[in-house]
């Protein structure tokens, strides 16, 4: 369990370009949860997640992992939390895919047998074929590079996996592929997953709980259904709602007694329920 206690983070403190990126944030991430973090660009999402493994230290406040303060300055990185940063393909540097994915486990001083096992596991996880292990990652396509970068974090087997806009810039096939696999991994291994995303359709489909950030503050928090029950509030702070929700809100405006929906599955169920009740009348 990770707990944020009154976390504030200020960049360039005391300079003309001073910026409050997090303002008194209190949050709780339970073990085995799939949490989505949404908010406009600049609302503090990236700053928030980079505190989780100690990449950033709070200006004030603290972050507890299983009751232990992991935000003390000078303390290194907390490797129980694996973060895939934005555009992670930018971090690729090794000559072969194997070495790239093995970089993390190697730094963790694991033995070579274990490293091999982990690389194989991570490759499998992101759905990359074994025969590219010895090719240079720079020769691969953008989508494959992204998956290698994700695999390189997965190979460290973190208890908490944080993904900062993992699908941005990918085509829809690539998007679906990555998220579906992460979701399956979460279900199987009970890993905690924190997903930062702009794509509400993604969030609605995979996430259990949503945290909404606005101007450095947590303004809403709750189960995904509860959050999308308030489309007007979300729109007010510049966030989207899934298109299917928009269509059903319109249907409601046309005088039909429909519930708010936010996934295709819910929409279908709701449509047929409505159809049935109307026919029975």
């Amino acid at each position: 369990m990770i707990v944020y206690e009154n976390v504030t983070h200020i960049y360039n403190r005391g300079l003309p370009n001073q910026q409050i990126a997090l303002d008194d944030v209190n949050l709780r991430f339970e073990d085995g949860e799939f949490v989505g973090i949404i908010g406009r660009t600049g609302s503090g999402k990236s700053t928030l997640v980079q505190h989780m493994n100690g990449l950033l230290k709070p200006t004030t406040g603290r972050i507890l992992m299983d009751g232990k303060d992991v935000s003390i300055k000078g303390l290194g990185i907390n490797f129980n939390v694996g973060i895939v940063l934005q555009n992670p393909e930018d971090q690729i540097f090794e000559q072969t895919v194997f070495k790239e994915i093995a970089f993390g486990p190697q730094n963790m001083k694991l033995d070579s047998g274990e490293i091999k096992r982990r690389v194989a596991m991570a490759m499998d996880f992101v759905g990359l074929p074994k025969d590219i292990l010895e090719t240079s990652p720079f020769d691969l396509s953008g989508g494959q590079k992204r998956r290698i970068a994700i695999a390189s974090v997965i190979a460290m087997q973190p208890r908490v996996l944080v993904l900062d806009e993992p699908t941005s810039g990918l085509d829809s096939a690539g998007k679906k592929n990555i998220l579906q696999r992460i979701y399956e991994h979460h279900k199987k291994e009970k890993t905690t997953v924190v997903l930062v995303s702009h794509n509400m359709e993604e969030v609605a489909q995979y996430v259990e709980r949503v945290v909404v950030l606005e101007k450095a503050k947590v303004t809403m928090e709750g189960k995904v259904d509860e959050i999308f029950e308030k489309p007007n509030e979300l729109r007010k702070i510049g966030l989207d709602i899934p298109r299917i929700s928009v269509a059903f809100l319109k249907l409601k405006e046309l005088g039909y007694d429909v519930k708010n929906v936010h996934t295709l599955k819910q929409a279908k169920t709701e449509f047929f329920r409505l159809k049935k009740t109307l026919q029975e009348r």
Partner: protein, 272 residues
């Protein structure tokens, strides 16, 4: 954007709309030039100290917090410390005190102090220029001073443009650098290892991606400039026309007074 790197201020322009920001960029660039030469010429510590104090006063006038300056100075501190350690013990002269077999001399101490202030003055002077002058105006100033290259068939505009883009890219590169370091740190790269060799090795995974990203960005920028009809010729017109006004005249006089004054302090007051 990734947050970690917003912390860097090196090479950044900080808009505070102060008087210093409004001074003609040619004067500012020229002053930094003159002043760099002066600093290298000073023989005594008093003039250096005086210059440093005067500089701090200009920072105040420019409304640039000293914290921004400190961030730039921090970069050179390790280099100066190493050089100081060497000099302080190696320069012969009258011994002030001894630690075991190492002799600390008065000459060594003064030399080290001077080196420290010299470096600080140089860094804070050049940083002041970039803090208070937008890259665009800086190009204008550079172009103005590069005019003689026309005689040799060169294009002052191209030179100025190249330099300005280099300056404009410094913060971006720092941003990228910070991002990559964050990513590799998350993969347990031993940046904080007590062993120097390990720490140096940890930087390889930083340099390779940085190189890739930089070339990609440079390519993009070249495309963007070409798309906006940039051809690097001398037929370009200027959006900003530089005018040397009253404010600039006052600044010039002040600058000259300071230059002559410190030089006088350095040469005549001390040695006559």
């Amino acid at each position: 954007m990734n947050p970690i790197l917003q912390e860097v201020t090196l090479g950044n322009f900080l808009q505070t709309n102060s008087v210093v920001h409004k001074i003609d960029p040619r004067l500012k660039l020229g002053s930094v030039f003159v002043y760099t030469i002066l600093i290298c010429m000073f023989r005594g510590i008093y003039a250096l100290l005086l210059t440093f104090v005067a500089l701090l006063a200009v920072y105040k006038g420019a409304k640039i917090p000293l914290k921004a300056l400190w961030k730039n100075l921090k970069v050179i501190v390790p280099i100066i410390t190493i050089a100081a350690m060497v000099n302080i013990f190696l320069i012969p002269g009258s011994v002030v005190f001894e630690i075991w077999f190492l002799k600390v001399t008065k000459e060594g101490l003064i030399f080290t102090l001077m080196m420290f202030f010299r470096a600080s003055c140089l860094v804070s002077g050049t940083a002041l220029l970039t803090f208070t002058t937008s890259p665009g105006s800086l190009v204008d100033a550079l172009e103005y001073f590069a005019r003689p290259v026309r005689m040799f068939g060169g294009s002052p505009n191209e030179i100025a443009m190249a330099i300005s883009i280099a300056i404009r890219f410094v913060p971006t590169l720092f941003t990228e650098l910070g991002k990559i370091i964050a990513a590799q740190k998350s993969r347990v790269a031993p940046f904080d290892s007590p062993k120097l060799r390990e720490r140096l090795r940890a930087y390889l995974p930083v340099i390779v991606p940085l190189f890739h990203i930089t070339s990609k960005r440079a390519e993009d920028l070249a495309c963007a400039m070409e798309s906006r009809c940039y051809a690097g010729n001398n037929k370009r017109t200027k959006f900003r026309i530089l005018r040397f006004g009253t404010l600039d005249f006052v600044a010039l006089v002040l600058m000259l007074v300071c230059a002559v004054g410190t030089f006088w302090v350095d040469r005549w007051r001390l040695y006559s």
